[in-house]
Amino acid sequence: MSFIGLLLTALVALLFLSAALAPLESLGWYAGWFGEKEEEPEPRMDDGGGETHAEIAPASHYLVYLSGIGAIAANSIPDEELPFIQGLQERLPATLVISDVFPYSVTNMGLTGQRSAARVWRWIEGLRLKNPMAIMAFLVNLRNIFQVATSADGRYGPIYNLGVAQEIRRSLLRHGYRLGSGTPVSLLGWSGGGQIALGAAWYLPNLIGAPVTIVSVGGVMSNDMGVKRIDHMWHMWGDKDPLSPLGHHLYPGRWKMFPMSGWNRALAEGKITLIPLESYAHNGKGNYFDDKMLLPSGESHMQHVLDTIQNKITEAGLSTGDPVTPVPIGG
């Protein structure tokens, strides 16, 4: 075998091995082998979320932003998403927008956290800061793609999605959410975050005792059982986006030929609103966060997505009440 052949074989073997090892993080966490197992002190239902966060005024609606597969940690998401998150908060003043959940870890631990490979991820993060298109940065995407597939896999999803749902609940509590108040929560999943949002939606309504809606921006989603528990989902995707439809292609439950699947029943019941976006791409120029590319209406790509989300959330009567004090992005 030539050197190149050997190299390619080694790369494929490494890829397969990495994929095979991907579910172990969440499985080991659940079995108590590694990662934190200790639950936070349980806040009581009637005291508005426990002593620690009782001083934070609750909002009338919460929107939890779940980033795409480019995220390295909750506080290290790609720069292009920051104005989008800021725009969400500006357009939905009565909604508290939270972005401190890292969707690709069951313990909310970013790649640069207390991990054995943290130094490598920090090095890659440095490279990406200098050059967002650095080849090594693709390793972040690959690692997180495997976690999306873990969430979507019927064997691992029940465990993975439980971990993330608990982290979302913790984040809500940190931001003054009152359990039992019935305050609605929306999960905004961008790209792979769409699947994570849908997966977590199986547990979250029960964990917080409130309805959960999902906003998917170019979301890559399977026929996850979480679709049965959502109040509604708005799914936006661009016609030049090859990645978002992958969920449709790869998971038979989303095919029309299975009308009784959870996804198709939710569609038939009107629980999923499909919002196609013309000329939107997944990455690069013309993507959902592009504030320079203009539509015929004169709006930028990003402005139009933000407008659509604002309209849908407002029409659903979710974002009403007094303006909130925004929290820092990733905090």
Partner: protein
């Protein structure tokens, strides 16, 4: 020990696709049965790693996890011997050739080699597909083992293996039930998990149970 492990590794390579010269090798190699045992044990351990979600969902601790892997290897060894006996007996009954039991035991042992990649069943999304491919591959190699041992064609080998499989299924569902129950009991005692429930059933139940617990955590009522 190193020499033995090296022999098992070589046997795994040979088992991925049996060539006719394997009969010579399996007949003349010292300790060939013992080496085939190594292949089957490795396959059993690897397959359970691939299906280990069931152990993790039961929050099995590392010590018991390792023990479960070894026990699964031993269970596969028992399966290997029973399956070989069935195929050999049917071959002796169907075909003119008198074949050596030890030879077919060794060759069918090698047919477990593809399952050494069973740990890849862990892969999200592709895992269940890989599982089917590995089992089909292993079965095809087992047919090759029957062909080489009894000097018969593909269809004859398929008939012998098929009847062998049917026979085992019937025995397992009838007079073998106490043995299966004993196996499940021993497994449960040693590993703390259930062997007779399918992974899907357990995980569906897991999601429902955890969701109900979440409800008691999150609802005022």
């Amino acid at each position: 020990m190193f020499h033995y492990l090296w022999s098992v590794w070589r046997a795994i390579q040979l088992g991925l696709g049996l060539q006719p010269d394997i009969v010579q090798i399996a007949t003349n190699t010292p300790n060939a049965t013992w080496i085939a045992f190594g292949v089957v044990m490795t396959a059993g351990i690897s397959v359970l790693i691939g299906q280990s979600v069931i152990l993790f969902a039961n929050q099995v601790q590392p010590g018991r996890f390792l023990m479960s892997l070894v026990i699964n290897g031993l269970l596969l060894v028992v399966g290997w011997i029973v399956w070989t006996t069935a195929v050999w007996a049917i071959g002796m009954w169907l075909f003119a050739e008198d074949a050596s039991f030890v030879l077919i035991l060794r060759l069918i042992g090698l047919s477990y080699a593809p399952l050494v990649f069973g740990f890849l069943i862990l892969m999200p999304y592709l895992g269940p597909f890989i599982q089917r491919v590995l089992y089909a591959w292993s079965f095809i190699v087992a047919l090759q083992a029957v062909k080489l041992t009894f000097h018969v064609g593909f269809w004859h080998a398929l008939v012998a293996a098929g009847i062998g499989w049917l026979l085992l299924a019937v025995i397992t569902a009838t007079i073998g039930r106490p043995v299966v129950a004993l196996r499940n009991y021993v497994w449960h005692r040693l590993t703390g998990t259930a062997l007779d429930a399918s992974a899907n059933e357990v995980l569906q139940q897991f999601a429902i149970d955890k969701s109900a617990q979440a409800a008691s955590k999150g609802d005022k009522s």
